[in-house]
Structures are given as structure tokens and as C-alpha cells.
């Protein structure tokens, strides 16, 4: 375990942050899906790397699962959905691209500030990844808050899950397998339910614009 491991983790984590930022930058849903797929692949690769250097065989299984579920299955389902509803673009997000990117940089700084005290706690070679994981977490939260299409919000949510998975991998070298399975199951179920609801929304509102969902007030 040396510099290479640390470097790889840095690289992977930075890549995941970059994919999250792409969502803020691009406007088409297909691009989001691609970004998400890349992010999932990076996550899987990172998991495998940690497994390799940490000598934890279980993490290979986790990596494989990640790849299969988040790298292939979910993007495919998203793609189907996107094809079915046509290419509705994030034409007018609440926050425009420039400001979004600025805010994202502020969030990254915030994540670093937040992470500084606890980076000192650990001697793990992967500790550099922690603030990056936090950054991804905040950026994906920002995506969910600032984007209008239901499908974009789902992608933001999926990225949020990735961020937490990254946190778990780099911080603790993965949670126990049983827990991991449970989380996967939940993620899958959650995604499926969200998908069902997106169909519901499309059926009842004829749009995926979440702005239409503002009838219930007070």
C-alpha cells in the first residue's frame, strides 16, 4: 500500500466528482445518463482497487455487483425511460449553468473545510478521497434541488447514493457484505419505485416537469 493506491483513489474520486459536475454543465438527459454510467464504473473500479490493496476479497463481489447494477442495469433502464418520453431537455433549470458551476465549486470548498478535521484522524491511504466523496454528495444534492425534470432528479439521487458508497469504500474499506446487499436491494427497489412513479407522473401530468407538481400547498 503506497503512493500508487493513494493516487488511484484520488483519481477515481476526482473522476466521480467530474462526472457529477458534467450533469450541471450539460443539458440533455442522455448526457446525464452517460455521466452516471461513467460515475458508476469509476465507483466499481475504485471498489475493486480498494479490495486489491486492502486485501479484502469481498470487495470484488461488491465491485461486480456495482458494475452490474449501477453500471449496466440502471443506465439501461434510464435509457429506456428516456427513449419512451422523448428528449425533454433541462432547458430552464432553476439555476443557470454558470452559477451552478460556481455554486458547485463553493460546495467543494465547503466539503474540504468540513472534512479537514477528520482527515487528521486517520492514517488511511485513502483519506484523500473523503472530501471528494463529500463533494460528490453535496453536488448531487445540488443537482436534485436545482433541476426540474423528474428524471434528472432521479439521476441526482442515484449520484447521491454513489457518493455515499464512495464514502463507505474510501473511509471504511466497505461496510460488511450483508449490509452492502441490503443497501443494494434498497437502491434497486428505490429506483424501480421511482421509475414506476415517473411513469405515473407522465401518465397523469403529461410532463416530467416537477414544476407541475405544485398543487398541494399549505
Amino acid at each position: 500500500m503506497g503512493g500508487a493506491f493513494s493516487q488511484l483513489v484520488m483519481l477515481g474520486s476526482s473522476g466521480m466528482l467530474l462526472t457529477a459536475l458534467i450533469v450541471l454543465w450539460r443539458k440533455g438527459v442522455p448526457a446525464y445518463i452517460t455521466a452516471y454510467r461513467w460515475q458508476s464504473w469509476l465507483l466499481a473500479a475504485l471498489t475493486a482497487t480498494v479490495g486489491y490493496y486492502g486485501g479484502d476479497g469481498q470487495l470484488y463481489w461488491v465491485a461486480a455487483l456495482l458494475l452490474g447494477l449501477k453500471g449496466v442495469a440502471i443506465p439501461a433502464l434510464l435509457r429506456t425511460m428516456q427513449r419512451r418520453f422523448g428528449t425533454e431537455r433541462e432547458a430552464t433549470p432553476y439555476v443557470n449553468t454558470e452559477v451552478s458551476l460556481l455554486i458547485a465549486s463553493v460546495l467543494v470548498v465547503f466539503a474540504y473545510l468540513l472534512g479537514r478535521p477528520w482527515m487528521a484522524l486517520t492514517q488511511l491511504p485513502t483519506r484523500q478521497g473523503l472530501p471528494l466523496a463529500m463533494s460528490v454528495l453535496f453536488v448531487s444534492l445540488f443537482i436534485i434541488v436545482s433541476r426540474k425534470k423528474a428524471i434528472t432528479q432521479v439521476i441526482g439521487f442515484l449520484m447521491l447514493e454513489n457518493a455515499i458508497a464512495l464514502l463507505a469504500v474510501v473511509g471504511t474499506f466497505g461496510v460488511p457484505l450483508l449490509v452492502e446487499f441490503g443497501v443494494f436491494l434498497d437502491a434497486l427497489m428505490g429506483f424501480l419505485v421511482m421509475q414506476i412513479f415517473i411513469y405515473h407522473i407522465h401518465d397523469t401530468f403529461d410532463t416530467l416537469d416537477v414544476d407541475a407538481l405544485a398543487r398541494l400547498r399549505h
Binding site: L121, L160, I164, A168, G171, V175, H218
Partner: protein, 488 residues
């Protein structure tokens, strides 16, 4: 112990599976579910007595054991099964003869049972990550039932519910991971490290700064689920649009289960950090919740939303109670229990009102006592219990809560809470006044037979009175023991 646990957990799972398998819907599915929950209730009572007699129960190997039931778990399990039983007994009448309705009913039984099952898992499992998984699962299962009749409003409500709670609960997982990270960084990988007993044991050696961050995530995460303001926004929508039986379960116990998670984590964090940290956060969010909940009641047009906001207010009170030391925690837990009974009663009565009047607007429900003397009276009792009037249980818990605030020297909390309670009281009584009396609308049929749903709800009223007038010794003892789960 395992047997009891099996009897507790298996019936809802079995009933859910049965509902999946039997298609089209047959009436016996509902009955089987109900009897199953009754079995679970019996098991939870057995659990309570066991725990009271022999202390916390867990599997043989303490560190790695997955299941652990102490008094707090038993208390929550009791609340869950109790409310579920009442809701399901009333749910027997939900079915209608036409085909679409039957499909929906089947759907309802599948997910309601699954919902109950996940809640029971959440309170009996001792692995905090799996507890998280179970609570996340409650979101999914309950979100499926909300748009039972697919209207725009219900779809909107369930989407909001799903997204906000998923995001929130994801944050709770981040918090869990952070705490686990700290544990691993300090103690290395240990089997059963995610068990809260182990976490709590190790807590004094953990790093306070990290645990504080973790708790912030956990509080926001589970707080979203528990309906603490300002993360409560999903709650009025979801509660108002869900079928009343589900509202009863969600408002009565789901929120309590999320508070349970916060309580468990508070015990861990308090072992590492000065308790004033968690207390301040809980107090802050509690006060905001009570304020928001209360003032949302003042001008309210829909009675189900009104009940939902009242839940926000009550969860705020519970949160404040948890921050007020042992007496406060006692009050909070007692309040949780009372609230579970009273709120489910109110929602179930509200469901019957909705069925008759076909509107959720307070202004259009008039002459309730004349139209539905029994339901109207039960609804009124539910509301009066919720505003904390004797002889109902919430009076006792609010009394103790204020006492706890004064005993711990937080006069401003006591003062603020009381003023807000007064505001909530006035608003609710005002709305109740408008509904109960006056001329019934012409389109509504007048008169009501005393069917057995009324009897079931009357039993709830009886429980509230017993809790308020005598607070039976075993219950008090159970809660006293439960307090140790939150404040060691």
C-alpha cells in the same frame, strides 16, 4: 426469544406474501393479515413482559447478534403492532365488489403488510446499517400505497414523499458510514461493529468531531422521515393523500420509528460527546417543528392536513423531550405511545368522515355530530386527546414534558411550548367546532349505525383514558426501562 421474534416478524411477511400469491383478491387475505398482526401484537406483548422480567434479549453471541430487543424496541414493536391491528381491523371494510377495487385492495394488503414488516424489522434489529435499510424500505413500501386511487394529487404527494424521504434517508446513511468510518479508524474492523451496542460500548474512545458530523447527517436524515421541520414538507401531502389506514400507520408509528432511530444514535453519540450537543440540536429542531406545526394549524382548510401538521407538532414535542434528560425522555416515549394511539384514532375517524362527505375540506364538513354521531364523537375525542386534555394520555405526557423542561432549568422552552400548545389548542378546537356543529350539507345522508369499527375505535379511546387516568404500572415500568435505551 427467537420464537417470539419469529412470531412477531413472520405474520406480516407471510400475509404480504399471501396477498402477492392469491390473485385475484379474496376476502380471506385481509382476515389472515389481521389475524397475523394480532399474533404479532401478542408476540410484542410477550416481548415486553420478557424484557421487563429478564432484561434485554438478544442472540447468543452478543457482539455479532443481529437481533436485539430491549425495552425500547419492545415498546415500539408494541405501538406498531397495536396501531397496525386497529388499522387493519378497520381496513376489512375497505373492499368493494368491483374488479378494479379488488385489485387495489390486494395491492393495499401487499404493501401494508410489507410496511408493517419493515417497521418491525427496524425496531428489532441491532445493526444500525440494516436498521437504515429497513427504514428506507418503509419509505418504498408506504409510497406504493399512497396513490392507491391514482389522482393527480396522490401522485404528486407520493413523488414528493418518495424523493424527499429518499434524499433524507440517504443522508442518514452517510451519517452511518461516517460513524462507522470513525469506528474503523479507531478500533479496526471488528465483527458486529455496526451493532449499536458495540458502537455504544466503543463510543468513549471515538472522535467527537467526527461523531458530531455524523449525528448532524443522521438527525437530518432520520429527521426527514420523522417529520421534523423544516424537512417535514412531504408529511402533510402524503398523510392527506394516503388512504386513511395508511395515514394512521404513517403518522402514528412510522414517525415514531424514525424518532427511535434518532434516539438510538443519540445514545451512541452522547457516550462520546457531551450530551449538550445532541440535546441542543434536538431541541432546536424540536422547537422549529412545534412552531411550524402549530402555526400551520391556525389557518388550515383540510382536516387530514390538519392532523398531519399536528403530527409535526407532536414529533417536535418528542424531540424536545428527548433533549430534556431522563424525565424528558420518559415524557417523550410516553408521548410517542399516546400519540400513536390518538393520531391513528383521529386518522381512522377522518377516513370515515371522508368516505361519507367525500371532501377533505373543513368548511364543507358541517353537522358532523348529527350526520355521524359515533364517528363524530370519536373524531372529537381524538382531537381533544391530541390537544392534550385530560383524561387522555397526552395530558400526562405533556405535563411531564413541561415539568422536565422546568426541572432542567429551561424555562424558555417550557414557556414557548406552552404558548404554542395554547395556539394549537385554540386552532384545533376552532376547526373542530366548525366540523362538529351546524347544518349538515344537503347531499350527505344523515345517521350512522354503531358498527364494529366504532367499537374498535372506542377501544382506542379506552386505552387513551387508561393511559391518562391510571398510567398502568407495567406501562410506566416499561417506559422507565426504555429510557435507558436513549439515555444510558
Amino acid at each position: 426469544m427467537s420464537l417470539i421474534l419469529a412470531v412477531l416478524l413472520a405474520p406480516p411477511l407471510g400475509a404480504s406474501s399471501l396477498a402477492i400469491l392469491v390473485r385475484p383478491y379474496r376476502r380471506f387475505v385481509g382476515w389472515v393479515s389481521t389475524i397475523g398482526v394480532a399474533l404479532s401484537l401478542a408476540a410484542s406483548i410477550a416481548l415486553c413482559t420478557t424484557v421487563m422480567g429478564a432484561g434485554p434479549q438478544q442472540e447468543a453471541v452478543p457482539a455479532t447478534a443481529l437481533w436485539r430487543v430491549d425495552a425500547l424496541s419492545a415498546l415500539l414493536a408494541l405501538c406498531v403492532t397495536l396501531v397496525a391491528l386497529v388499522a387493519m381491523l378497520l381496513g376489512q371494510r375497505a373492499g368493494h365488489p368491483d374488479r378494479e377495487e379488488l385489485a387495489r385492495t390486494r395491492y393495499f394488503w401487499i404493501f401494508t403488510n410489507a410496511f408493517v414488516f419493515t417497521m418491525l424489522i427496524a425496531v428489532t434489529i441491532q445493526n444500525v446499517a440494516l436498521m437504515w435499510v429497513a427504514i428506507e424500505a418503509t419509505t418504498i413500501t408506504s409510497a406504493m400505497v399512497i396513490p392507491l386511487t391514482r389522482t393527480k394529487a396522490s401522485v404528486e404527494a407520493s413523488w414528493k414523499y418518495l424523493l424527499i424521504c429518499s434524499v433524507g434517508i440517504a443522508l442518514a446513511f452517510a451519517g452511518t458510514v461516517l460513524a462507522y468510518f470513525d469506528f474503523v479508524a479507531t478500533a479496526g474492523e471488528v465483527p458486529g461493529a455496526l451493532n449499536w451496542t458495540v458502537l455504544r460500548g466503543a463510543a468513549p474512545s471515538l472522535h467527537p468531531p467526527l461523531l458530531q458530523l455524523a449525528f448532524a447527517f443522521l438527525l437530518i436524515g432520520y429527521g426527514t422521515k420523522a417529520g421534523l421541520a423544516p424537512m417535514h414538507t412531504w408529511l402533510p401531502d402524503a398523510h392527506a393523500e394516503a388512504p386513511s389506514l395508511v395515514s394512521a400507520l404513517m403518522s402514528g408509528v412510522l414517525l415514531a420509528v424514525a424518532m427511535y432511530a434518532i434516539g438510538r444514535w443519540k445514545a451512541v453519540v452522547d457516550a462520546a460527546v457531551d450530551p449538550s450537543f445532541t440535546n441542543r440540536l434536538l431541541m432546536g429542531f424540536g422547537v422549529v417543528s412545534v412552531v411550524v406545526g402549530t402555526f400551520s394549524l391556525v389557518i388550515q382548510r383540510h382536516y387530514k392536513r390538519m392532523l398531519a401538521y399536528s403530527s409535526v407538532e407532536h414529533m417536535g414535542l418528542v424531540s424536545i423531550g428527548l433533549a430534556l434528560g431522563p424525565l424528558g425522555a420518559f415524557a417523550a416515549l410516553l408521548h410517542t405511545m399516546n400519540h400513536a394511539v390518538a393520531k391513528s384514532l383521529s386518522f381512522l375517524a377522518a377516513g370515515r368522515i371522508l368516505h361519507r362527505y367525500d371532501t377533505t375540506e373543513i368548511g364543507k364538513v358541517t353537522g358532523l355530530l348529527r350526520v355521524m354521531p359515533w364517528t363524530g364523537a370519536l373524531f372529537a375525542i381524538g382531537i381533544l386527546a391530541l390537544v392534550g386534555l385530560p383524561p387522555f394520555g397526552l395530558f400526562v405526557s405533556e405535563f411531564l414534558l413541561v415539568r422536565a423542561a422546568v426541572v432542567t432549568g429551561r424555562f424558555w422552552v417550557a414557556g414557548l411550548v406552552l404558548v404554542l400548545l395554547l395556539t394549537a389548542f385554540t386552532s384545533l378546537v376552532h376547526h373542530l367546532n366548525r366540523m362538529l356543529y351546524g347544518e349538515p350539507p344537503p347531499a350527505v345522508t344523515v345517521g350512522e349505525r354503531r358498527d364494529w369499527s366504532v367499537t374498535v375505535l372506542a377501544v382506542s379511546v379506552g386505552m387513551l383514558i387508561v393511559l391518562g387516568v391510571t398510567l398502568p404500572r407495567p406501562v410506566a415500568a416499561l417506559i422507565t426501562q426504555s429510557v435507558r435505551g436513549v439515555i444510558p
